[in-house]
């Protein structure tokens, strides 16, 4: 998920051109912007309350996420390193009982959660970090990604432990459920309920903002970009683009047209793989430049030159991007992971710690390395997805087209994922009924249109704000419930050690079945 702030000047230029080329359509887009802008701005400034640190504005909410990640890392004894190998074995299915065939596997839960987080943040957000913070931002981004693995471990274990199995056999899980049930277990039902409701409201906001409007907005910008930029026939028709997009999303989430969702779910991982392979090839081409690039990254991380705010400035850029991209501590992943079939909640937590690793430590780092190694970050006037596009273009002239398609697919799959997260929060508040589901889905679709019509600034700010607000309630809950997670992990590890839980020998298990 994420956002390319440095596109703002470009978007402004775009807006000016829109006005010139199509006054009527522009009027429509502008009208929507004018109505929504004043409502979202106060929310944004509250969530992103920043304090100046060493000459740079440091949003407290980023500190909130990073401190939590450090605490979880220490509290769980560096679980992300200790159990990394075990996580891979779980995903491979080494511990999966053959009787569970046909249920949601660890692999499927992880892949689904990943398709919600791998997205624009990995392509565009990283470019923003490197262009603003220099190569050194990469180092801090990787560090934040590694720390975030512990947050994911904690929230996803809880997501499975406190999930609900509904009357129809479907599963609902996520922070709403562990906040309310977990606190109630300790006689604090009231507080748990308040946190759960707060989280659910923010999750609905986040699903509409970062999970929807931002994605719609970026898809539109990208569509304009590849169809001729300023001369594109789409200029000024954001609302129309939004309507088409809303129709396609609506076909999936209301019409239940599975084939569209299925195609996306298959294309997205393929895109991610193509992206990483292309990055690796570029790194291979520039093999001799790799040591120098690493030098620049390390030097930039600890002794940055010409970056506002010195080390702290670089650190903030890196931390911010990692947090934006992998959503560790936000609580969204706990919703996606909770459907897995397992009797041990800790197993899904362990699997989930791979998520920030793949998202941030692998994919984001690839983007950063390509940008650093090709020297693209030194080119003036490039930022966001354009910077990434330029860096890849130096090796593969056709890559911008692939990237444009990737942006569209990522945006679409992120919207589908978040429409589900928002729906779960909505049904938590308003009950699980077909009627209330439809209301939410229609609201969601309306915001697809609004998102692609609005100018970039308010959209990005609002989307960031709502998603980050989710972490306020979620992390309070994680602190309170982390002893539960520790117990779950301890009893699971004890069973592993005693051999009660052992890798499944498929043949032997079936013999006894």
């Amino acid at each position: 998920m994420s956002r390319f702030r440095s596109l703002a000047p470009w978007a402004a230029a775009m807006a000016a051109l829109m006005a010139a080329s199509s006054a009527r359509a522009e009027g429509m887009d502008q009208a929507i912007s004018d109505i929504v802008g004043p409502i979202v701005n106060p929310i944004v400034s509250t969530i992103f309350y920043s304090v100046p640190v060493a000459g740079t504005q440091f949003p407290l909410i980023v500190g909130w996420l990073i401190i939590a990640a450090v605490i979880f890392t220490l509290y769980f004894g560096f679980v992300q390193f200790r159990l990394f190998g075990h996580a891979i074995r779980l995903v491979k299915g080494d511990y999966t009982d053959p009787k569970d065939e046909g249920e949601v596997s660890h692999f499927q839960a992880l892949a689904t959660a990943l398709s919600g987080t791998v997205g624009l943040g990995n392509i565009a957000g990283v470019a923003v970090a490197v262009s603003l913070g220099g190569p050194g931002a990469t180092f801090w981004m990787i560090l934040a990604g590694l720390l975030g693995m512990a947050s994911k471990f904690c929230e996803c274990t809880l997501g499975v432990k406190y999930r609900n199995v509904n009357a129809d056999g479907s599963i609902s899980g996520g922070p709403m459920y562990y906040l309310s049930k977990g606190f109630a277990e300790n006689g604090k039902a009231g507080l748990g309920k308040i946190l759960a409701i707060f989280f659910a409201i923010c999750a609905i906001g986040g699903s509409i903002g970062g999970g929807n409007m931002f994605q719609a907005n970026q898809s539109y910008q990208q569509a304009v970009n590849v169809t001729g930029g300023d001369a594109s026939f789409l200029v000024g028709y954001g609302w129309l683009f939004g309507l088409v997009m809303a129709a396609i999303v609506g076909m999936v989430i209301i019409g239940g047209i599975k084939s569209i969702a299925r195609v996306t779910e298959k294309l997205v991982p393929m895109m991610a793989v193509i992206y990483v392979i292309a990055a690796l090839i570029i790194l291979g081409f520039n093999f001799s430049a790799i040591p120098a690039a690493f030098g620049a990254i390390i030097e930039g991380a600890f002794a940055p030159v010409a970056v506002g705010g010195g080390i702290v400035g670089v650190l903030i850029q890196g931390f911010k991007r990692a947090a934006f991209s992998n959503e560790a501590g936000i609580g969204s992943a706990a919703i996606a992971h909770s459907a897995v079939k397992t009797s041990q909640p800790a197993t899904e937590g362990i699997v989930a710690l791979l998520e920030p690793f793949i998202d941030t430590v692998v994919i984001c780092t690839m983007t950063a390395l390509v940008i650093v190694i090709t020297g693209a970050y030194q080119v003036e006037g490039l930022g966001g997805v354009q910077l990434t596009s330029y860096a890849f273009e130096t090796a593969f002239p056709w890559f911008p087209y692939v990237l444009a398609l990737a942006v569209l697919m990522f945006a679409f799959s992120t919207m589908l994922s978040w429409s589900y997260y928002g729906l779960k929060a909505w049904t938590y508040l308003f009950g699980e009924s077909k009627g209330s589901e439809i209301v939410y889905k229609l609201i969601f679709l309306a915001f697809v249109v609004i998102g692609s019509s609005m100018s970039l600034g308010p959209v990005i700010d609002f989307s960031d704000a709502m998603i980050f607000a989710m972490s306020i309630a979620n992390i309070i809950g994680l602190y309170y419930l982390m002893p539960v997670v520790k117990r779950e992990l301890a009893q699971y590890m004890a069973k592993l050690k005693s051999g009660e839980i052992a890798p499944v020998d498929k043949e032997a298990k079936r013999q006894n079945a």
């Binding site: 065939e101 046909g102 499927q108 689904t112 056999g169 779910e265 298959k266 996606a336």
Partner: protein, 145 residues
């Protein structure tokens, strides 16, 4: 000692000819023959799903098993029983070739009998279930045209 014959079913006419052949083998072998009908729902633990599909997976699975039992296995079983054969049915999720060959090992089966399927684009590219089965199986495989 009971001789076990496994018949792979997928709800297509191929299954009927496989059952017909299993009956013939059973009558040749004699009374102590057990026919095991196995319906395999194609499924892989490594597919990519939407969050909604995942949330509903458990109930879908129940439903798939129920449907397979009601529509495919139950009619076949009652018919075979009427004719005096010893028969049982199973529903499994997974890769058909893998499931059938594992089942064969599990019940110590004499052979696996499947119907031949038409060639599809998919089978031309990835190889058909029957071709995989021949590669994987630890017991003789009979393919009924």
């Amino acid at each position: 000692m009971t001789t076990s014959l496994i018949v792979g079913l997928d709800g297509t006419p191929g299954g009927d000819s496989a059952i017909a052949y299993a009956k013939r083998v059973a009558s040749l072998v004699g009374a102590e023959t057990r026919i095991i009908l196995c319906y395999v729902v194609e499924w892989s633990p490594y597919s990519f799903n939407t969050p909604e599909e995942n949330a509903q997976r458990a109930s879908r699975r129940e439903n798939e098993i129920k449907l397979a039992r009601e529509r495919v296995l139950a009619p076949a079983i009652s018919e075979l029983e009427k004719e005096g054969y010893q028969v049982e049915g199973r529903v499994r999720h997974g890769d058909a070739a893998e499931i059938l060959s594992l089942l064969a090992r599990e019940v110590n089966a004499e052979q696996i009998i499947v119907g031949r399927k038409g060639e599809s684009v998919r089978s031309r590219i990835f190889g058909s279930v029957t071709a995989h089965l021949i590669q994987e199986a630890s017991v003789p495989v009979t393919i009924v045209p």
